[in-house]
């Protein structure tokens, strides 16, 4: 059980210690305390390097002292002949005697006390990243304003995560930029744009100053971009080492700025914008796109008008134009619609005549009506040929949409009258 103080006496003290003795004391004081060990009497056979008889003080596995010989107080006001200060709360004292003592040595008398350790100053390693506060039996760390103490209770960081950027254009900078960024922080930024836009990041070289990589090339502090299936970085150093423009293929981007304990630099500043996804330009000879652009992007709306003789058919309804919108997936809406030749359909039959072989009924096709000769003839000689017009009608150059008429041939007997008297 740890104690606040104690006494250690060599065997048989104040009588002569016996030969061939090894005695070990494990001293422990409460945590947060160090140990002040001091000797008030020391009378041990003297040998080189205390090789024969000795008392060893071991702290943390390291021999902190090995004593032999006689000591006297150096101060008339103090009985202490030798003392040690240890900032740790455990200590091992080992007394050893060999077999050859010819003289009488009385050994040692030592005492220890628990003393407060100033953890903030007593160790070479700084226990706190920012402010260290010592108290009896311990210490605690604290942080400057706007910083918070990490769960390790030692390091301070800043609360720099959680920002989500949804505007189509924006600027993001490291904390305190252009002043030194906080150490030991992990800043996570999210860019969340509407689907249909791709995040494009631009960083000027002079806007980037992050603690450079170590000798093995690993960034101590780093800026990393992560999009869907894409990662850019980590980047560090003075001057942005990556491309000046990072074009992602995603509408979301996660930015992580990780800093270690040391080496704070100016930081970084970036700009981003949403690049709308393009839709393919599918101009054909049979359609006109309005407005006409070299490139069409997300949310663009075009009116697609079919040229003369072509129409778009939806269900049973034909129209000369339709609207299409560039969608977030880079596809046009109404993409199933297309301008197709107007179909005039099967031409109407006529009385006493017929339509010639029907090869096609679409725009530009030509049909020819004929009358049932020799008993009928066409009222208008030039009225036999009809062309499928842009409005879906069969049109004759002279009759328009009017159907040709087959007129009976008059006055022509099939057989001439012959006088055949019986």
């Amino acid at each position: 059980e740890p104690t606040m103080y104690g006494e250690i006496l060599s065997p048989n003290y104040p009588q002569a210690y016996p030969n061939e003795v090894v005695k070990i004391w494990d001293i422990e004081v409460p945590e947060g305390f160090g140990i002040h060990l001091y000797f008030t009497h020391l009378d041990i056979e003297l040998s080189e390097n205390c090789a024969y008889d000795s008392v060893q003080i071991i702290s943390g596995g390291i021999e902190e002292g090995r004593l032999c010989g006689q000591r006297t107080s150096k101060s008339p006001n103090s009985p202490i002949v030798e003392d040690f200060q240890f900032p740790y709360n455990k200590l091992q004292v080992i007394f050893t005697s060999d077999f050859s003592n010819e003289e009488r040595f009385t050994g040692f008398a030592a005492y220890y006390t628990a003393v407060d350790v100033n953890e903030c100053t007593d160790f070479s390693d700084v226990p706190c990243s920012h402010f260290c506060n010592n108290f009896i039996g311990g210490y605690f760390c604290s942080c400057p304003p706007e910083y918070f103490l990490h769960d390790d209770m030692r390091n301070c960081g800043v609360n720099c995560s959680g920002d989500a950027f949804t505007a189509l254009i924006g600027e993001i900078a490291s904390p305190n930029y252009p002043n030194p960024y906080p150490e030991n922080s992990r800043c996570e930024y999210q860019i969340r744009l509407e689907e249909g836009f791709r995040v494009v990041v631009t960083i000027r070289r002079e806007d980037f100053d992050v603690e450079p990589a170590d000798s093995e090339g690993n960034c101590r502090d780093s800026l990393t971009f992560a999009a869907k299936n894409q990662q850019f970085g980590p980047y560090c150093g003075n001057g942005f080492p990556g491309p000046l423009t990072i074009k992602t293929q995603s509408n979301t981007l996660d930015i992580v700025f990780q800093t270690d304990l040391t080496g704070q630099k100016k930081g970084w500043k970036l700009r981003y914008h949403g690049d709308p996804i393009p839709c393919p330009k599918e101009i054909t000879a049979v359609s006109i796109w309005e407005p006409e652009k070299a490139k069409y992007v997300f949310k663009d709306v075009v009116k697609i008008t079919c040229v003369d003789g072509f129409e778009v058919v939806e269900g049973n309804v034909g129209a000369t134009s339709f609207y299409s919108t560039c969608q977030s997936n880079g596809q046009w809406s109404n993409s199933r619609l297309e301008c197709q030749p107007v179909d005039c359909g099967v031409p109407e039959p006529i009385e006493n005549g017929k339509v010639g072989d029907l090869e096609d009924t679409v725009f530009g096709s030509v049909i020819r009506y004929t009358c049932d000769e020799p008993y009928y003839y066409m009222e208008h000689e030039e009225g036999g040929e009809y062309r499928c017009a842009a409005n879906g009608s069969w049109v004759n150059d002279h009759l328009g949409i009017e159907l040709p008429r087959c007129i009976p041939v008059c006055g022509v007997p099939t057989e001439p009258f012959q006088i055949r008297q019986k």
């Binding site: 009385e351 049932d372 008059c410 006055g411 007997p413 099939t414 057989e415 009258f417």
Partner: protein, 251 residues
């Protein structure tokens, strides 16, 4: 037909048979039959056939039966006279409109109407054709179509024919410019041939082609000269009547 010969309907494909009273007509269009007014006077729904040489019932069944839409008698025709005593046959012309179009073919086709030029003015000596199922020298009527060729003669020839009808006075007969006199050597039309076409060749046409110059109208005596209604004089009325009554076509 007096002085005629058996004929095929293919030689007179415009010939229309009126069953009662037995008479003839000329098909001039898919919807129109031209005949004499005295044929259809008092008969608003005549029974007609086209396309058959023979009048045997089994043959008529294969012919086309024409259904009457309306009968239009020329307004100048003096109606109501008894045919046995009638002496005025001026404007003896009528149109029969058909309900359905006639299907043309080798046995059925219309005869042309006279043109407006002077070439269509009937001239003395022009030879025309008549046809019908009417009375012959031997029979009151025939079952088989007969035809005859006869020339146009001066109207005086018809006037000079001696009247045989005891109920009619010779001086009462009316002769007008609306009449053509034609016939010779016993070639003539007769009872039952009324309304049929007197066909003349279309002038300046190479192939045989005929137009209806006259309609069998009347005569004092069969086998001499007969009177035919001069169709050319009625072209305005014919065309106007057909146009006014065409209405929306049924096809």
């Amino acid at each position: 037909i007096f002085g005629g010969y058996p004929a095929k309907i293919q030689s007179f494909p415009w010939q229309v048979f009126f069953q009662y009273p037995r008479a003839g007509g000329a098909l001039i269009d898919e919807y129109w039959v031209l005949t004499a007014a005295h044929v259809v006077e008092g008969n608003s729904d005549p029974l007609m056939y086209v396309g058959s040489t023979s009048l045997r019932m089994d043959h008529l069944e294969n012919a086309q039966r024409l259904m009457t839409e309306r009968v239009i008698i020329h307004p100048g025709w003096k109606q109501g006279d008894d045919l046995t005593t009638r002496t005025n046959f001026d404007n003896d012309i009528a149109l029969v409109q058909l309900k359905d179009p006639v299907k043309m073919g080798p046995t059925v086709s219309p005869i042309c109407l006279p043109g407006a030029s002077s070439e269509y003015n009937p001239s003395m000596g022009d030879l025309g054709l008549i046809s019908g199922w009417g009375r012959t020298e031997k029979r009151f009527n025939v079952m088989h179509l007969r035809g005859a060729k006869l020339p146009i003669t001066p109207l005086e020839k018809c006037k000079e024919v001696k009247e045989e009808n005891p109920r009619a006075r010779p001086d009462d007969y009316v002769f007008t410019d609306n009449m053509i006199c034609a016939g010779e050597k016993g070639a003539d039309s007769c009872e039952g041939d009324s309304g049929g076409a007197f066909a003349l060749p279309v002038p300046n046409v190479k192939d045989p082609k005929f137009y209806v110059a006259g309609l069998v109208s009347w005569g004092k005596k069969c086998g001499t000269y007969g009177i035919y209604t001069k169709v050319k004089n009625y072209m305005d009325w014919i065309l106007k009547t057909m146009q006014e009554n065409s209405g929306p076509r049924k096809d």
